[in-house]
Symmetry: C2
Subunit: 419 residues, 2 copies
């Protein structure tokens, strides 16, 4: 085996195949793989990835994600190979940077980046012989886990904060056959309960981002974006932050490429939170002070309505290593940013819009320069958030495009069109 699990503080090592989410001392774990054992030069790595172009992204990048996972254990739904869109002029103007690209992870099978994690997590579950998987979720995680578990023929259990996820997200685990339990608490409450359940009932395998193998899958987002850019590193990656697993994955993947010599410098990373749930932002503003959990307020960016981010320590460590920053955006800033991106034909979720709103603020503040190259990670498709979208456009908002109800006749239509 090339891979071990390692405590992020004590550096204590545990066997990769052990079903373990925290170290003996309670610390977070991370997957550490000895990639030098492949004995590949940077050029050979690039050639290897190019040769695998036809394969699903997870298999293409498997050697730097989960090198020990046998291919026969992989459950793929053709996730990945998501578009890296160049920004339109309207976007460049509004967000204040000239070289902007958008990596749209909403173009995955369950319409969010979580598929990148679940192809890894569910495949790993098969590898270690788990036959029930479980998670707490703000919506996207449960959709992805349920779909991959269904495809793998593994039973799935999801805990959701009843009434705090979009209706579309609610429909997804139900349709995919997961046992779907809506609890009268918030995400942090669900997260606490699923940890208790999976600690007590060892036959149930936890697939939240505390599961370090799932996080390895999400590294593919940044790696694929860099591959699409022919390994040219942008000045910045921008990413929304909730439970802080994805920003940790992004950074870890890029850092490992750098260590292998595949890229020749590190980008900076900006994490963006909603003001309704910004414990990482608070830490950053206080010189990376320790986590002070809060009760997250209701926000349109429901996927990141998280007051006690599980991967906080990983995120802080990575952001420091990347000379990173953290920003926070208001509801108005988030929904205006969403409207601007949507109006270019690229449909995004409010969580993705949080990252975009943060970009605008950082560009205005001069922290991101107008001439910097920026890759923004869009985390889910807008079609999962139709309620938030229609509410915005029906009300008197800055970029509202109000629909009209009309009588079915030519004159009425002509009048509405000013013909």
């Amino acid at each position: 085996m090339r891979t071990v699990l390692r405590g992020i503080e004590s550096k204590t090592v545990y066997p990769a195949k052990e079903q373990r989410y925290r170290g003996e001392n309670g610390e977070l774990l991370e997957v550490v793989s000895d990639l030098t054992s492949f004995n590949r030069s940077p050029a050979a790595w690039k050639e290897h990835f190019d040769e695998q172009k036809e394969k699903p992204a997870f298999i293409r990048y498997k050697d730097v994600l989960l090198p020990d996972l046998p291919e026969k254990c992989i459950t793929s739904l053709s996730e990945g190979d998501t578009p890296l869109y160049p920004a339109t002029k309207a976007m460049r103007d509004y967000f204040g940077v000239e070289k902007l690209e958008l990596k749209h992870e909403g173009m995955n099978p369950t319409l969010s980046f979580k598929d990148r994690g679940m192809v890894a997590g569910v495949s790993w579950a098969r590898f270690i012989g788990a036959d029930v998987v479980a998670c707490a979720s703000t919506g996207d995680t449960s959709a992805a886990m349920a779909a991959y578990a269904a495809c793998a023929g593994i039973k799935a259990v999801v805990l959701l904060p009843e009434g705090n996820i979009s209706f579309e997200q609610y429909s997804q685990p139900i349709a995919a056959g997961a046992i779907t339990l809506g609890l009268d608490t918030d995400f942090d409450g669900c997260m606490e309960l699923i940890q208790k359940i999976t600690a007590k009932h060892r036959g149930i395998y936890l697939l939240n981002s505390m599961n370090s193998f799932r996080i390895e899958g999400q590294k593919a987002i940044g790696i694929e974006a860099l591959h699409q850019r022919n390994w040219q590193v942008p000045d910045w990656f921008i990413i929304p932050v909730g439970n802080a697993g994805n920003v940790s994955a992004l950074a870890k993947g890029i850092r490992e490429l750098y260590e292998l010599g595949i890229i020749n410098r590190l980008p900076r990373i900006a994490g963006v939170q909603t003001k309704a749930a910004s414990p990482l932002y608070n830490s950053y503003k206080n010189g990376w002070a320790g986590l002070v959990p809060i009760t997250a307020k209701k926000t349109k960016a429901s996927a990141i309505q998280i007051g006690n981010p599980v991967s906080f320590k990983k995120a802080v460590r990575e952001l420091k290593a990347f000379n990173g920053v953290v920003e926070a955006a208001s509801e108005e800033e988030i929904m205006d940013a969403k409207a601007v991106v949507d109006a270019s034909g690229i449909s995004i979720c409010p969580n993705s819009a949080t990252a975009m709103a943060g970009l605008r603020k950082l560009a205005k503040a001069g922290i991101i320069r107008k001439t910097d190259s920026v890759v923004a990670i869009l985390t889910a498709h807008g079609a999962k958030f139709s309620q938030a979208t229609v509410e915005y456009h029906r009300a008197a908002n800055r970029f509202a495009n109000k629909p009209k109800a009309l009588r079915a006749d030519v004159a009425a239509i002509e009048k509405a069109l000013g013909l």
Copy 2:
């Protein structure tokens, strides 16, 4: 120019760049391109397509779609390259065929196959200099047109049957900045009105499936599926039928490949309608009798709730040439079929499920044999139809997976899980 517009009955020829949706005698038109002028052998064609693998599907197949369209006019949102999923065992058992693959067109930017048409239609609109585009829609067409028009910087107008499309679909053209008019009529009423409006106001370019250039783009679905199968032709293609544009496009594309020698035989094609709107099925059952328009009844398969299909004559002509059949499925058959596919982790819309329900009926009737190879075209993503999905699972339906609302405590969860 390699391309002309030609009347499907009189064979009258019109210049391709003329803004024209019907012949002088009112007949439907089709795009006819002289593909022999490329002077490519079947092997050279295949090599050409292989060489373009890295490009968006529309560009890869452009020579057999819209050969005269300059690349600089193309507005692409990275549509296409959708998965061709092998069916799970549960699907093969339920649908009654052993060799089943699912081509998931829901994995397009606006989550339906209409993106394949709109990359062609909107790009052609740019080519001929149109600056306003319009359509009537049951939801997916308007979502796609609005997104591509937004990306191209062209103004978009959509007419929708108010209250007869899913909320997710309703949100899409609004978000993409289209002028969105909900009319107190059904789709057929909207279709009639948009034809009147675009006939009267020539500055508005019609992008419904009456627009033959849009249909050319949709040919890519079948072509790409055959390319993914290494040009091995399946025994059957199964496809849902509403306005009958997509079945016409599928057949035309495959027929042209056959004429070029790229494939060595024709598959059979089965079109499937909802019983709530089955004028093509009625025609088929009456020895391909002429169209008798009906008033479509309300159906979960709202995208094909169409009683007066515009492309009826094209569809009949093509289905005859492919030794085709037409089937019709009930609401219960449709939603049960959706539940079976969804439960494999592949999320589909009720319209896609109509095709799947038809497959089951045709297999049961022995028209499609158990050993026949079948490719089913799934037309949109299930996440656009969360209301229909949740309603199904909340009620006492055959494959219902009922969600539960619970108190947030360990004991309640253990009880629900039988632990």
